[in-house]
């Protein structure tokens, strides 16, 4: 017996837009409605009508007791859920990234995780190349195919709030102080940030030192040289 062919294409194709190939009677036969009727004893199978329980509740519509003074639009749509920026498939936790802009332009850093704002959390590690725990935008980054195992690093506690600037208290200036040159308050890195950096980096450096040349690689900056064509380079 020949294998059953799966139906492809329409049963009743358009000869010309608006004109089908088969007539209503022909289609009745093709759809097998005669067979369905025969199977059901001469009649087309139907569902029983639902018992009429609804009409009583809906029948006499009472006038509402209260009409609002202004026509207020009913908000129907559900609030949109904000997702963090879609992460490029080449960027996974532990990927070595090349920063393309800013103070650390050209530095190769290790990607830790994506924060809820969409920015990427990266670290140098600090001891290797001077890049601290930092947020970076995905657009200003080249992802290399080199990966580091960061399963031993705990980054759960870092969120966008951690990187927010602390609000400066505006102190009222007296006349005398106004004419004094503004003393620039030196921004000191708080101790807890240094401790966090050390905690993340010690685990990471151990993994990095296990791979030959990786530490010197991360310490060096990337730059284009003669003959390097970025669109042809494999990162």
């Amino acid at each position: 017996m020949a294998p059953k062919k799966v139906r492809t294409g329409q049963r009743n194709p358009d000869l010309v837009p608006g004109i089908k190939k088969f007539s209503k009677s022909k289609m009745y036969h093709k759809r097998g409605l005669w067979a369905i009727k025969a199977k059901n004893g001469g009649k087309f199978p139907t569902h029983e009508a639902k018992p009429a329980a609804q009409p009583e509740a809906a029948a006499p519509e009472k006038a509402p007791k209260f009409y609002p003074a202004d026509d207020v639009k009913k908000t129907r749509s559900k609030p949109k859920k904000q997702n963090p920026t879609k992460l490029r498939s080449t960027i996974t936790p532990g990927t070595v990234l090349i920063l393309l802009a800013g103070r650390f332009m050209g530095k190769r850093v290790v990607f830790l995780k994506q924060l809820p704002s969409g920015l990427l959390l990266v670290t140098g590690p600090f001891k290797v190349n001077g890049v601290p725990l930092k947020r970076v935008n995905q657009a200003y980054v080249i992802a290399t195919s080199t990966k580091v195992d960061i399963s031993s690093v705990d980054v759960a506690k870092f969120e966008d709030k951690y990187f927010m600037k602390e609000k400066k208290k505006k102190s009222k200036k007296t006349e005398g102080e106004f004419f004094k040159s503004e003393e620039e308050e030196k921004s000191v890195v708080p101790q807890y940030k240094k401790d966090d950096q050390k905690a993340v980096d010690t685990a990471l450096i151990k993994v990095i030192e296990a791979v030959p040349d990786l530490k010197t690689y991360l310490a060096a900056r990337f730059s284009l040289r003669d003959g390097m064509k970025p669109h042809q380079l494999v990162f």
């Binding site: 195919s145 080199t146 690689y217």
Partner: protein, 134 residues
């Protein structure tokens, strides 16, 4: 001055333009003054302009338009793959492909290796110079 590589049935050539760029193929027939019929083990037989072919030194023994099986057997017998990979042209291509596929980390490691090699060479040169001067 005289030509050494001829267009003939069985001549192995490299495609140098088009969709099949870089592929090693065998000329299995000549269509007319400008075109040949080419075939390769993992390719559908097709026609191509001679201008898109670079002839190699390798030639295999096949009848005109052989079946795929005969073609593959003849290529195995003539050991085309190994001959190509050992030839200087073939080796150059392999190196080019390897360099193009290097990852950023690989390029860094290559740079370190070249510096190291340069250092060793210079040391040796200095030593030889000293010996010669003495």
């Amino acid at each position: 001055m005289t030509f050494k590589r001829f267009v003939e049935i069985g001549r192995v050539a490299l495609v140098n333009y088009g969709k099949e760029y870089g592929r090693l193929v065998v000329i299995v027939d000549v269509v007319d003054q400008n075109r040949a019929l080419i075939d390769a083990p993992d390719m559908v037989r097709c026609q191509i302009n001679f201008k898109r072919l670079s002839l190699t030194d390798i030639k295999i023994d096949i009848p005109r338009i052989p079946k795929k099986k005969t073609l593959i057997a003849a290529m195995e017998e003539a050991d085309v793959k190994n001959k190509w990979e050992k030839s200087s042209w073939g080796r150059k291509l392999i190196v080019q492909q390897r360099r193009a596929s290097l990852n950023d980390f690989d390029r860094f490691k290559v740079m370190l290796a070249r510096i190291k090699r340069g250092g060793v060479i210079r040391q040796e040169l200095a030593r030889l110079k000293k010996e010669n001067a003495a």
